[in-house]
């Protein structure tokens, strides 16, 4: 589904990703953990080319993202992204937040898009908020709408960048529940998270990143109970 080969990313002279190689299978849920500034967000953003790749190869869903001939808008429409700060469109109602891209990018008729949006809202438990504006929602509700918005494009992969980090603790659960359900339905997911419980329970594989490298990867059980690297041990001892 996703293949990354020796991915490097520079901001100016600053090398942030120093050569990432990994492969993510269809229906796999991969959690990415690591200290702040290790390049987790940058890695995720390279997967749908919100950042330009400096060197290396990124192949998503059969599209080579580093090939200049690839239609990036097409690729992005097949990859859903959920942001830490939700990034709902504040001037649009919840329903319009969800239907906007299907209508304008997929050219879906308005009625079809709205019908589908309402189904997705039901799925995330917010059908009664269809006509609210984002500012009338709590953080947890916003993030669930953001997930519904991404799902409306029927993505083949969902990327999550610390989806619960900006939430009050009592709202983390409702968002993780939606993500857990998605995982159970077989969605391919890459999740940058500090929620070790979620990683352990839902993740098929955990990548530990530090200083622009994937230091260690493995099943949650293996990585959490017997980390091989000193840096992994040090990080886990702080967060577990």
């Amino acid at each position: 589904m996703i293949r990354v080969e020796n991915l490097q990313k520079k901001y100016g002279d600053h090398l942030v990703l120093k050569g990432i190689t990994t492969e993510i299978q269809e229906r796999e849920v991969v959690c990415v953990i690591g200290p702040s500034g290790s390049g987790k967000s940058t890695f995720l953003r390279c997967l749908n080319l919100l950042e330009t790749v400096t060197s290396g190869k990124v192949i998503v869903n059969g599209h080579d993202l580093t090939d200049p001939k690839t239609n990036l808008n097409q690729v992005r429409s097949e990859v859903g992204m959920v942001f830490q700060q939700f990034e709902l469109f504040p001037h649009k109602k919840v329903l319009d937040n969800i239907t906007l891209a299907p209508i304008h990018v997929r050219k879906m008729p308005k009625e079809t898009a709205e019908k589908k949006a309402l189904e997705l809202l039901r799925k995330v438990g917010l059908q009664d908020k269809a006509h609210a504006y984002p500012e009338q929602l709590s953080g947890g509700q916003k993030q669930r709408v953001a997930i519904a918005r991404a799902l409306a494009m029927e993505p083949k992969v969902m990327l999550f960048d610390e989806p619960t980090s900006a939430l009050d603790p009592e709202m983390v659960g409702e968002v993780l529940a939606v993500m857990r359900e998605l995982a159970n339905e077989g969605m391919t997911m890459v999740v940058v998270t500090h929620e070790m419980g979620f990683a352990r329970e839902v993740g098929d594989r955990v990548l530990f990143m530090d200083d622009g490298y994937i230091i260690e990867e493995g099943t949650p059980q293996a990585l959490f109970s017997s980390p091989q690297h000193e840096r992994t041990k040090a990080f886990l001892s702080k967060v577990l």
Binding site: L88, F89, H91, L100, V105, E135
Partner: protein, 228 residues
């Protein structure tokens, strides 16, 4: 001191025509200023050097020189040169020069308002739109500009009012606007106060109406939820 209003009544056609001309100048400059401003604003944030530099030069030129000079230069130098030397035709009226000068000048100021408005929208909004597969143009049109426009309305309103008042400068090239009507009436009748007070009242009326329109727009562009 008493004001002899009879001269104003005698010359009322002048004032009516001046009133209409001032409105025309303002409306034309707002419309074309918005178009020029939007284009220049987008050029500035495009991140492409060959678009940024010309936009910057244009804006600095029109903001860095007096409007009065621009009006004179456009009417007496630029337009005659283009029409007589290049097109081999008689130049259009002074009113046309006024339209051109005010629009070009407004475009420079409005461009800065557009740029500021667009830059004030969080980058995450553009990224969220792009991550859904929208093109840059779609994301701008559907997500960034509508939000930026709301924030731009107060400074745009100020700019429109400034424009209305600055339009009086075209009097120097004998465009018969409100100021010109007052000036010529006062000169030919030797009545000192009446014509100028009349002109002042007319401008005041127009600026008040314009600021009400801007306020109304600001309300309309605020989402339902925030009204209460």
């Amino acid at each position: 001191m008493s004001i002899d209003w009879s001269v104003v009544i005698e010359y009322k056609d002048y004032f009516v025509r001046g009133f209409i001309t001032t409105i025309e100048l303002t409306v034309v400059a707002i419309v074309f200023g918005l178009i020029i401003g939007l284009i220049l604003g987008l050029m500035q944030i495009s991140g492409k050097i060959y678009l940024k530099v010309p936009a910057r030069v244009y804006i600095d030129l029109f903001r860095g020189t007096p409007l009065l000079l621009q009006i004179l230069a456009i009417h007496f130098a630029v337009i005659p040169t283009i029409w007589e030397d290049i097109l081999q035709m008689t130049p259009p009226s002074a009113l046309f020069s006024g339209f051109v000068a005010l629009s070009l000048n407004a475009g420079a100021y409005i461009a800065e308002i557009f740029r500021g408005g667009i830059e004030s929208i969080d980058k995450g909004q553009m990224e969220a739109a792009r991550s859904l597969g929208m093109t840059y143009g779609q994301a701008m049109r559907l997500i960034v500009l509508p939000q930026a426009f709301k924030r731009m309305l107060p400074p745009l309103g100020n700019e429109f009012i400034a424009l209305l008042k600055d339009s009086s400068l075209v009097t120097v090239i004998a465009v018969n606007d409100i100021t010109y009507a007052a000036f010529t009436t006062a000169k030919s009748t030797l009545e000192r106060m009446g014509p100028y007070v009349t002109a002042g009242v007319m401008y005041l009326l127009l600026t008040l109406v314009l600021s009400r329109v801007v306020l109304y727009l600001e309300k309309r562009f605020t989402p339902q939820a925030r009204k209460k």
